[in-house]
Subunit: 433 residues, 2 copies
Amino acid sequence: MKKYSEMELPELHKLYEELSLEYRDYQYRALNLNMSRGKPSPEQLDLSMGMMDVLNSHADLTCEDGLDCRNYGVLDGIPEAKELLGDIMEVNPDNIIIYGNSSLNVMFDFISRSMTHGVMGSTPWCKLPKVKFLCPVPGYDRHFAITEYFGIEMINVPMLPTGPDMDMVEKLVAEDDSIKGIWCVPKYSNPTGNSYDDETVRRFARLQPAAADFRIYWDNAYTVHHLYDHHQDHLIEILAECKRAGNPDLVYKFASTSKISFPGSGIAACAASLNNLEDVRRQLKFQTIGHDKVNQLRHVRFFKDIHGVVEHMRLHADIMRPKFEAVEHIFQEELGGLDIGSWTCPNGGYFISFDSLPGCAKAIVAKAKKAGVVLTPAGATFPYGKDPEDRNIRIAPSYPSLDEIETAARLLALCVKLVSIEKLLIEAGEAVC
Amino acid sequence: MKKYSEMELPELHKLYEELSLEYRDYQYRALNLNMSRGKPSPEQLDLSMGMMDVLNSHADLTCEDGLDCRNYGVLDGIPEAKELLGDIMEVNPDNIIIYGNSSLNVMFDFISRSMTHGVMGSTPWCKLPKVKFLCPVPGYDRHFAITEYFGIEMINVPMLPTGPDMDMVEKLVAEDDSIKGIWCVPKYSNPTGNSYDDETVRRFARLQPAAADFRIYWDNAYTVHHLYDHHQDHLIEILAECKRAGNPDLVYKFASTSKISFPGSGIAACAASLNNLEDVRRQLKFQTIGHDKVNQLRHVRFFKDIHGVVEHMRLHADIMRPKFEAVEHIFQEELGGLDIGSWTCPNGGYFISFDSLPGCAKAIVAKAKKAGVVLTPAGATFPYGKDPEDRNIRIAPSYPSLDEIETAARLLALCVKLVSIEKLLIEAGEAVC
């Protein structure tokens, strides 16, 4: 394929006309596809329907330590749920608190508590003139929304193929004690799908932040969410690494079963050092009498143990993999060699990240929408919704059917071509008809 | 019976000796009973076991509006859950947000949000030099714990048989704009079991607080928790009354199914004006993607509608009523006419409130504990755990079996007698052997 940048103007004009006709055809089809959110498909949800049967009216709802899960009690989770989530999160069950249905909610609570009560005795953040967070970009919009809601200033840190730019992270946290945290999705990152390499995790564990109440918010949302049996990313376990590095309290680790069982009806957990958990429990005991233990029990009885989870995630992967591969294949076929965009080919997670030519992402998303394909709004993967280069588009292939994904990916590629030509023509001072 | 205060000293001494022997007998029995928390008994929990069957692996988990409850989405509850909770709470479903497993958690969140973001645009409370709450006493310890956790100064307001002392409430909120709220359990109140009378609710709805961000925290935890079919307390619906009074935004109303289905695995809700709910949603959308919709659906499919709930609560009442009546009967038998204590005989709820002679509650609770009966710590029903008169003891008859309740009530009455005589003897300058 010839690069667009090497085409003569008449060639570009001609191509634009042809592609415009193609685009019009898509418009006639009145598509209604959504690739905007990382939602499991109905087929994936069906995988967990057996969970509805494991507890019935004759079941004994007593957990391992003899407690009746139906009644009040147990602030931080039943033992067997701690064990299961401990195995998923690769930490000791003693380092775990089991929460309700959403890890997002837990992260919100952690920021909220830090605002009103500080971290392990530090000044409450609401009493400080300025609080800042580092935000590897592109990243997860809901993370950024939480810090924005609390008026925390966000600083972009570029995501490299190895993880966040650690030179920048190390320098910033060492210099500025108003920097209190960093949002991380370290494995199959949202949206790039990359995982942090060993060197990056080791440098995270050895950060020397100026602020004693600085914490790494390690949202390991996709820890068991592989697409392949034989190509799996490996991530160094951060709690153990922090301990080895003499920084045991540096990190909060989050996970949930939202994309393992049912989104919204799963169980979430936080893992941290015993010191951090003690600090958390000081709040938790005022906030709740306990989370949903029946649902904790339901999860354990269904999955049994980590092997059950691993097997279950293979079934998810069988549904997800063809969708990811379809997008990657179509992008390669349609866009390979044109030099108008690049995309990731992750081994797991829920997203493919696409980077267009600078200044094109918004126009591409708008054009796709006009033809019936909804994508995550351009800019959403950056704090304040502002992608300074207007390049990044998050693609979520999980929810639509394989057929729909193929259609959506072809249309998206077409929109990329059209908008890229528009850009090249405008830059050359040409009118776009 | 002769009043203890009218007995001569030798008579008191003799009685004390006899009662001490009785007490020793109890100690030999090595009892291990707990009347400290308002927990449903296992028999009550069994009533809801059918809920484990209503959803199975073949069930359609689509809710009324066509949404798949298994997936992400729906910030404020599925329509049928809003309808069910609306009927329980006697409000329009539009005025409801469905939450997770605990209304305590919701109330905590409301205070936390007010601290960091204020109320409908007001100054965040964390930026104010002083925030105060009114606390009708005796009241619910976990309410007081939340406000204490956030450093909110609590002001005691006496509970009268009609509800909080409204003269005092009206005066205080009108004078002091640092008073931002009042904790209320308006029906079958915790711990007195009294309900607010019509006059009290009408005066609440017509409060003229100096603070625009003052709210009534109306925790209607026991709204359908009657003990009798024919003696039921009636409470004026506060949302409608506030609207009538021209104060539509004055109140937040809370409820949950914790003591209807399963504590910790129920669903909670908040009802408020549309203005208030809009303010709440502005936070909620950052805090969560949505609560557990599968559990919402499970509740609706099990109870079907308000009639199902009412029938279900009759079955609860059949288990609870004999326990309440046993305590009341034994108190009457053992303590009637002695003038050393008074107690409530509620028509619903989870508690009986006992008032001893001044200065005796702590000693009574300690003495009961020594003989193996654990009660809510004396003072717990007051802010900061300090009952200024050391009189109030909260009795929770729900959890132990009827036999155990009878034993515990007799022992408690005995402890009341012993401690009362000790008090009378010490006041008379006598030594207590």
